[in-house]
Subunit: 459 residues, 2 copies
């Protein structure tokens, strides 16, 4: 429990109205998109980097833990105050500071909602590609802390690829800048990318300098249905082998299609075993040519159906099957464990086959969809906790899925991070020396273990 | 001086034939592309990561410094054994281990020469874009250690953007893997990118997993001559504003053009004040369209001449003016200090004007060319050391140039790194807290200060 004098001290830093200790406030900031919940001692809403610095200096002097949080939309509990301490919410820092249309650079505060930032730059003819599924509510600071991805990563890369520089309050309360205004820059260590994806354990991000691109002139959506998962997988390699890198290559497996069709009666062809939703963007003439070429090269691969959208409305219609996946899942079972393994692109059919076998063996429905272009698959293990033993079986299945991904040269997480949820599995992926090296980096930046302690690495 | 028993011990690790202590060998590995020279106590050529690990363990136990080195083509002395110790040469690790054409991934050892790697992947229809000027002799491991760039960075990014994973011998002699086979991956801290650009101070790279791209179908070269530097700079923003991101946007200033024309009689138009050499690549139809559009949009910007290459031979002809720059410089003065500042794209004319003023004030010829698309300018301060006081003036000028770049929101180095050459200037760019943070990261990974000690940061 945080002593009352420390609560008072926090109030002098950020103003009494920005410190909450009511149970209902604590509850609100004690959960995220996982099933986990932990009550903090207080929730603090600082209004500036200097206030965050003062909070962290106090935390170091008085030895209490601080858990930075954006919108709390994370899937792995990275912002949860396990063990108590204060939740430091960055949503008051929510200004887009500038969008430089000449240098294609923007500077923003961490509390800006991702979609709002995207819309702001698009109005100026610019483009910020990363598009995590949470973009309507997640904050851009959280995206940077988790190195968020999304469907467009196959062509454009992940959040990391757009971060040029940061302002960060270090765990000790010092404010530093990392990187800068220029994309090239090799003076000193790359602290910028060390911070990206560090899940709020190495610093509190207070400003971000993003690289932007020109907004593509047009885009074209195609829905392709295959009679086998192998056909869909070969389509991915064949398209890229033909020098076409689509913006998105979204994949849905048979279980996913059954799920959506059962609920929404889309009337998918009976032979449908896998769907690829393909989008290309860029020059108007080029994407017409690419769409025709995609059709031509995927035809021999067990293609059941090929639809290409003529306009934005038709494109929206094609995306419908993908957007209906999440609402359909609830029909399968009430609880969803949403993992996001990655395997090398060519191993997608192998890993799907292994997951199907794991699902059968444990008698648990598992639904797979995701980003086929970069091998990042969302594995949804669907559980009814009312059925005795099912939750335990699900956890056994998840560990087997992680092992399968790792055996095939992949990773346990492409976008969601480690947080608390994947912490127990870390030794499957990282060696003791890798873990020790990361722990020594953490210790170097946070000698008192103040910032988001007990996260990421096994303790 | 390294004791004879340690030399003997090194011989038992790598074999006697792979340890050199003759003065002529020591001389060969004591210099690089800078003017600096330091004699090591021994030069060691290990043949495997395990041998490197054994060397570093011995170095920790016996407290002697180790300086990793690729081809020694660096411009900042990053591989030089200042203070003595051993030079650890990675050129025996020179195999391309695999090129995976399905997943567009390659795994290579650090001693592979960059151009050989590029040619190997291009034979298979793939593309590794980073193209530092040294690519015919620099090793890919050195490119990673320095985060090498090159003309194509404006479209494709720098070496960092292609490194997916590493095998590294840590300063303590432990071998770890970082990153992996997949582009997405967020388990643990991004040690991969912490290592990229760390200039051999945080680990010895023994394997690199690279991301590759499909080789573009075609390319098109344009030579554009402007009557002012501002016209050339506005051309850069205008082209990008028209949603065309060229592969290269190489820029040469008036001093550079005079230099080349004086030596090689190219017959450049009298009104020529700046040249942009522009290349676009990709789909054959698209680049035709882009070349026409480039011509159209740069016309009103003081265009003196526009030439577009019809074929590879004509393209080579247009590149000639750029390739002749280096050989022409020697006519100006015998010694060249080659800096590589970066400013935001829009500030290129400002910084060139400031550099011209600095040149005039000190009476020293300064010739500027480089990568206008990303604001990375090679500033060549040309000195005759026989003229008393000129070298001192040059160093004063260089410091002023760095200050100008920083004032305009830039950095002292986009590609060359810090090494020994820029070490004295580090406090101009990095704050004491930034430096301390980087030093603590170094200390965490290299507690005994064995690997490339005394580099990068002021000691």
């Amino acid at each position: 429990m945080l002593e009352p004098r420390l609560i008072d001290h926090l109030k002098t830093i950020v103003g009494a109205e920005n410190v909450a200790t009511d149970r209902q406030d604590l509850l609100c900031y004690g959960y995220d998109a996982t099933q986990m919940e932990f009550l903090p001692d207080a929730v603090v809403h600082p209004g500036s980097p200097e206030e965050i610095a003062a909070i962290l200096k106090l935390a170091n002097a008085e030895q209490f833990p601080v858990f930075p949080r954006g919108a709390g939309s994370g899937f792995t509990g990275g912002a949860l105050p396990k063990g108590g301490g204060i939740v430091l919410v960055t949503t008051r820092l929510n200004r887009i500071l500038r969008i430089d249309t000449e240098n294609l650079v923007a500077e923003v505060e961490p509390g800006v909602v991702t979609e709002q930032f995207q819309q702001a730059v698009e109005k100026l003819g610019l483009f910020y590609p990363p598009d995590p599924a949470s973009l309507k509510f997640s904050t851009i600071g959280g995206n940077v802390a988790e190195n968020a991805g999304g469907p467009r990563a196959v062509k454009y890369g992940v959040t990391r690829d757009f971060v040029m520089g940061l302002e960060v309050v270090l765990p000790t309360g010092e404010i530093i800048r990392t990187g800068g205004e220029t994309y090239k820059g090799v003076v000193g260590y790359d602290l910028t990318r060390l911070l990206v994806g560090s899940e709020g354990t190495l610093g509190v991000i207070t400003k971000i300098i993003f690289k932007l691109l020109p907004l593509p002139e047009a885009k074209k959506t195609m829905l392709t249905i295959f009679d086998s998962i192998d056909g869909a997988a070969r389509a991915v390699s064949t398209i890229i082998g033909n020098k076409i890198i689509p913006t998105t290559l979204e994949f849905m497996d048979h279980a996913t299609l059954q799920c959506v069709d059962r609920r929404f009666n889309l009337g998918l062809p009976a032979a449908a075993r896998a769907v690829l939703l393909i989008e290309v963007d860029g020059d108007r003439d080029l994407i017409e040519k690419q769409a025709a070429r995609v059709h031509e090269v995927v035809k021999p691969l067990g293609l059941v159906e090929f639809k290409v959208a003529k306009d934005a409305a038709e494109s929206e219609q094609l995306w419908k099957v993908r957007r209906l996946v999440s609402p359909s899942l609830r029909d399968v079972n009430p609880t969803k464990y949403n993992e996001d393994i990655v395997v090398p692109r060519s191993r997608v059919p192998d890993v799907i086959r292994r997951i199907d076998a794991i699902a059968t063996r444990h008698g648990i429905p598992i639904v797979n969809f995701g980003h086929a272009g970069d091998g990042n698959i969302h594995v949804n293990v669907m559980v009814d906790k009312e059925i005795p033993g099912m939750d335990e079986k699900a956890h056994a299945a998840i560990e087997e899925i992680f092992r399968a991904a790792l055996e095939l040269g992949g990773t346990m997480s492409g976008e969601h991070g480690v947080g608390l949820a994947k912490q127990p599995y870390i030794p499957l992926e990282l060696s003791p020396v890798q873990i020790a090296t990361m722990q020594s980096v953490k210790k170097a930046l946070d000698p008192n273990g103040i910032l988001n302690p007990g996260k990421m690495f096994p303790v």
